[in-house]
Symmetry: C2
Subunit: 408 residues, 2 copies
């Protein structure tokens, strides 16, 4: 006998509504048909969860027309409980997939795979298992479905935003002269965790491991990192070389608190600038500039504009205010984006970046994060996560936007 | 001006000694030559860190003979500070790699890549950039170098073991009737974090996201998960469907606390069974059986035996003691291994598993984790991380092994 969900049924564990799954699959099927693909074979965990409602070890086949099928290696019990799909069966080996598709009347000649993340060795095992089948990258299609968030998804992101607010508030409360960045970050992480933060913040692609707690201070905040972000942070060792370090925070230094809330798989990204005692006047002016840049970008975050339009407004204003060299990092750390899509992964589409001509649409969720880096001094900035609507965008992260300071 | 490390030089930030890097590269070069490869082009972050001492966004070329070169996209400043390699230069685009190799006198015809993790799209970009070059999987070679730990590496793992002990002790201290698994796990995570736990526990391969805190109780502890592990745990949602949940822990239930310490990139894996008030007699007997199984496997963990030999001793003794159906999970959750290599990733070689005929060698670090699952009741077990030596193995995780119980 397996433990049944009956014994655990009174424990909060939010599932994805069946109507969400049906809508997502229908939208993907339309795109598969238009792209000339007979189906998509989905294996990456976030995409699996998005289209099936469960993140078990499984293969999801979505035909261009017909019923989707979930083939589960482990755990079938859990997959059947969590997924609203009707065709959820055991899979002993991926070699059995062609036969399982044939049994369902599917004879695909052209299948989409997530070639942006699927490893070569695993891909070659599918090439061996499927004879006379061509494979193409279906990630652009999946990305374009995930791009538009439903009202249910937005509600999850708002809950993640509340968790992120609790994290940053706890960092602020932990500040005192001499506290380490690590202690402050840990206080924020703990505050989020006990509210239901799910720990592992996902960012698509190889090597994109993320710490949840970015609380970096003074020169550490402007020290370069490997990530495609302007955030600095010495980190704890070359193996986790970003974010909080053992540095002791001093009076009057900017503390950049960039925290990702996480609820039911959904993320919300928020940054505030904190300090022990007031910041020096030049950094107060710089922070006011980031708020001005943020607000100008928010006003442009609506249908009719492209992602690049919003980027250009932000970078242009930074230049007008005298911060061309400081916006989104300094020197080699400077990056060509001031925002990014947010959803189940932290690097969703569209990037608010140079050369991204994607038109903005209602239902996109986008974090805007203007930040100014001053080498040897630190970084100041603000970030909120926004829902694009037909009119003005709606803010999903709700901490006050003023500089937050504890007494020195 | 970039912020220089001078401003941050007094902050603890452990680097890998140059002698370690030189030894690792020499061992890889010997294997490359023996395999007929002209060089390895390394991009995965953990392998990069292992062979270069830095985990920046970079490509490392290790020729079968000659000097290794690190080509860095971001951050060059940090890579030059952290890596003892002499040839560390900027890389604008991976398309420049063939030219950069030619400039160094390398004209490879056959290059090794990490095809176990490298995504298809990225692989194809290397196929386009390099004309008339054949590519093979060099992960088996890298794995066989990483397999044998140096004394310096063992010292890092011991420090990680201390962090893991602090985590589990904090979980025990957090137990009281009605506490949620999540609150108990969060207490353990916080205790480890302030000691320098680096947050993101790495496990090689797509979809292997890990929460650090496994603190699952009663029936939740035996509820199946997607991971290749016998550990259960309801988790918080289908998107993080393992480990701690909102379940409230009751008196007399087994709490499986499985925590991975993490220091300077290195991991140590440790599990203890905790409870509020004493466990029922049958579970006390089961826990005693896991200690007996553990000790029998430890006695066999030495050169002259294979990984499978150790596995067979563990599974055989579990059967003799009447737990054939419960060892390493029950029903569909039962897995065919009782241990695994530990180092920079949690799923290192060798697995202590059926059909793994790898001979044990001094310098291997292996976690042994016999656990017994009882559906609807819970899971009990123990886990320690061990260093294989010429004689008896050395224990790197040092909590007392008795059942740990707080007053009810």
């Amino acid at each position: 006998m397996q433990p049944t969900i009956d014994q655990l049924k009174d424990i909060p564990y939010p599932l994805t509504p069946a109507s969400e799954i049906a809508d997502r699959i229908a939208r993907l099927q339309a795109k598969l048909g238009a792209a000339g693909l007979d189906g998509a074979l989905i294996v990456q965990n976030v995409d699996l969860h998005y289209f099936s409602g469960t993140m078990q070890n499984a293969h999801l086949y979505v035909p261009a027309a017909g019923e989707a099928a979930l083939f589960v290696w482990k755990s079938l019990t859990r997959a059947r409980h969590e997924s609203p799909l009707r065709d959820v069966v055991a899979l002993r080996s991926p070699r059995d997939l062609p036969k399982l598709l044939t049994e369902r009347g599917y004879k695909p000649a052209h299948i989409g795979l997530e070639l942006d993340v699927l490893a070569v060795n695993q891909f070659r095992s599918y090439e061996r298992a499927f004879e006379n089948v061509a494979f193409s990258d279906c990630w652009p299609l999946i990305r374009s479905v995930r791009l538009i968030k439903s009202a249910w998804e937005v509600a999850q992101i708002e809950r993640a935003g509340e968790i992120s607010s609790a994290q940053i508030s706890a960092v602020l409360n932990a500040l005192h002269p001499g506290v380490t960045e690590l202690e402050a970050a840990a206080a924020g992480e703990y505050a989020g965790r006990v509210l239901g933060h799910e720990y592992a913040v996902r960012m698509r692609g190889l090597n994109n491991d993320l710490d949840v707690g970015y609380a970096s201070s003074g020169p550490s905040g402007a020290y370069a990192t490997a990530m495609l972000t302007c955030n600095g942070g010495l980190g704890l060792s070359p193996s986790h070389a970003q974010g909080a370090s053992w540095r002791r925070i001093q009076r009057g230094e900017p503390v950049l608190a960039d925290f990702v809330g996480l609820y039911n798989g959904y993320l919300a990204d928020q940054t505030r600038t904190l300090s022990i005692g007031p910041l020096p006047d030049d950094l107060q002016r710089a922070y006011a500039a980031t708020r001005q840049i943020h607000d100008a970008m928010v006003a442009a975050l609506r249908p009719g504009n492209t992602a690049e339009d919003v980027y250009n407004i932000g970078v242009g204003l930074a230049g007008e205010l005298g911060y061309a060299e400081n916006i989104q990092g300094y020197g080699e750390q400077q990056v060509n984006f001031i925002g990014h899509g947010v959803g189940l992964e932290l690097n969703e589409w569209p990037a608010i970046a140079r050369s991204v001509t994607e038109p903005l649409q209602p239902g996109m969720v986008i974090a805007l994060e203007p930040k100014l880096a001053f080498p040897a001094v630190g970084m100041v900035g603000i970030e909120n996560t926004w829902l694009v609507t037909r009119d003005q965008p709606r803010r999903l992260t709700t901490l006050p936007e003023e500089l937050a300071c504890v007494p020195a």
